[in-house]
């Protein structure tokens, strides 16, 4: 009797496994019904994600902040005094101001390059179970956003639009392991391929054996045919280390992205590039050192009795 029960379980298990393999095959063969199921899910989830984002925005960094407690103990007293002053203000003010600051920055960047952009808020992120780096925006095809459009933030490139619904879009972040972008070094114009490696890490491989690379070089997007998926001239990151190991045909290096992908609030999707290639116009300016004021005090001799 127990054996019959075990056989029935095994039969059910095998038939469900075959069904799942069938689904995988359908998806890999590009059957549109399967992809539209996920698009449909995103349409349903977007309003809930928007509510979740509003509710959660003050607490989303809670766990990260816990790790900094030890380092911030000395600041607690100073912050207590400041906290009293801030009590009268609304809790969401900081969040709104932060988003406004990001929006100002991204519009500045888009304005310099004369990109036509649509700005949107980040309402959700890809989860642990996805092993991918994605975010969801609260604007979609109704706002003119289409697949394969470049997404930028105040400091530079964020990623590329992967899919859209009427009111939301999924953006593949540049840190995703599947992300590749053609870049050029500002100044020398040497070209290379930048790859995401997850968790905000990037690697760079130059295309030409003669291509020169040094730490501190700024990388800009090379642009794609018809500006899709990438418009040219967007700041991507800065070279931090060069891999000088022998046996490599071309130079390789590690890169630090300009945009903090963990702190995305407001981003812009480039709908069109009005002026074509902005060249090196968007290279971030190094901060100018503030002049040091030195005051020489010459003691005036006083009469002593």
């Amino acid at each position: 009797m127990a054996n019959r029960g075990a056989n029935r379980t095994r039969l059910l298990w095998v038939s469900l496994l075959v069904t799942s393999l069938f689904l995988i095959t359908l998806d890999l063969r590009g059957v549109s019904v399967i992809s539209s199921i996920r698009t449909g899910t995103q349409s349903v989830l977007a309003p809930v994600q928007r509510i979740g984002s509003n509710v959660l925005s003050p607490f989303s960094n809670f766990f990260k902040d816990i790790t900094n407690l030890g380092r911030t103990n000395s600041k607690i007293d100073a912050l207590k005094a400041e906290n009293e002053r801030l009590k009268s203000e609304l809790i969401f003010n900081d969040n709104v101001l932060g988003e406004l600051e990001q929006l100002k920055g991204v519009l500045n960047l888009a304005g310099k390059a004369r990109y036509k952009v649509v700005s949107a808020r980040v309402i959700s992120k890809g989860g642990t179970g996805t092993f991918g780096e994605t975010v969801v925006l609260d604007a979609g095809s109704d706002s003119g956003i289409k697949r394969d459009m470049t997404v930028i933030a105040d400091a530079g490139l964020v990623g590329v639009v992967k899919s859209t619904t009427k009111s939301s879009s999924v953006v593949l972040l540049m840190s995703d392991p599947s992300f590749r972008i053609g870049v050029r070094v500002a100044g020398s114009q040497d070209m290379g391929i930048l790859s995401g490696e997850g968790e905000g890490k990037f690697s760079l491989r130059m295309l030409s054996a003669t291509g020169q690379l040094k730490a501190g070089d700024v990388l800009l997007s090379r642009g794609s045919s018809g500006d899709k998926p990438f418009v040219p001239g967007v700041p991507v990151g800065k070279v931090i280390t060069i891999d000088n190991s022998t046996g490599q045909l071309t130079k390789q290096g590690r890169v630090m992205g300009f945009v903090d992908l963990n702190a995305l609030g407001v981003v812009s999707v480039v709908i069109a590039s009005v002026d074509g290639n902005p060249g090196d116009a968007l290279v971030p300016q190094a901060p100018k050192p503030a002049p040091t004021v030195t005051i020489f005090v010459t003691p005036t001799p006083t009469a002593t009795e």
Binding site: L16, F22, F63, S124, G127
Partner: protein, 172 residues
């Protein structure tokens, strides 16, 4: 297995999926992330009878595959969760006492979630998906295991209560 339990199970898993996608994915855990959905699934399966567990694995997998941010082919989570549910319900469950202690349930949940994530990466890689460097994968799996263990006092009682709520009179 009673078929009239399945709609209730599907609704419960759908609610946890929405919770995961709209709230938990937005939280910035400082190491890796936390998949409540996977943890809830493992804790649920540990209580279930074999046939029901396999059917639940299939439903939970289908729901997990709906995630719009997922790069992997549709059906991969279904494949993994159906397999995991069979292994947990037949092999692991059979080796444990009939009344599982919360500590044992936490340990099995942590191990099961980690194994499911590892299998997902492995099968994804076989199917041609880019999964990132090994350090990234290890960090993600380790982070998830840590949070799954630390937060188990919160979700295990909820899972047990919800599981009991979906039982029909005949199951009880």
């Amino acid at each position: 297995m009673t078929l009239n339990r399945l709609p209730a199970i599907a609704i419960v898993f759908l609610l946890f999926f929405i919770l995961q996608e709209s709230i938990l994915n937005k939280i910035d855990f400082f190491i890796g992330g936390f998949s409540l959905y996977l943890a809830f699934f493992m804790a649920w399966i540990m209580q279930d009878e074999r046939n029901s567990a396999v059917a639940t694995g299939f439903i939970a997998g289908l729901i997990a595959d709906l995630s719009p941010t997922l790069e992997a082919p549709f059906g991969l989570w279904t494949f993994i969760l159906t397999s995991m549910s069979y292994v947990l319900a037949t092999n692991v469950r059979a080796a444990l006492d009939s009344e599982i202690s919360p500590v044992v349930m936490s340990i099995v949940t942590v191990s099961g979630s980690s194994l499911a994530l590892f299998l997902f990466v492995l099968c994804g890689a076989i199917l041609g998906q880019d999964v990132g460097s090994s350090s990234y994968v290890v960090q993600e799996i380790f982070g998830n295991a840590m949070w799954t263990f630390l937060l188990s006092p919160l979700y295990v009682p909820i899972t047990v209560a919800l599981y009991r709520a979906t039982l029909t009179a005949r199951n009880r």
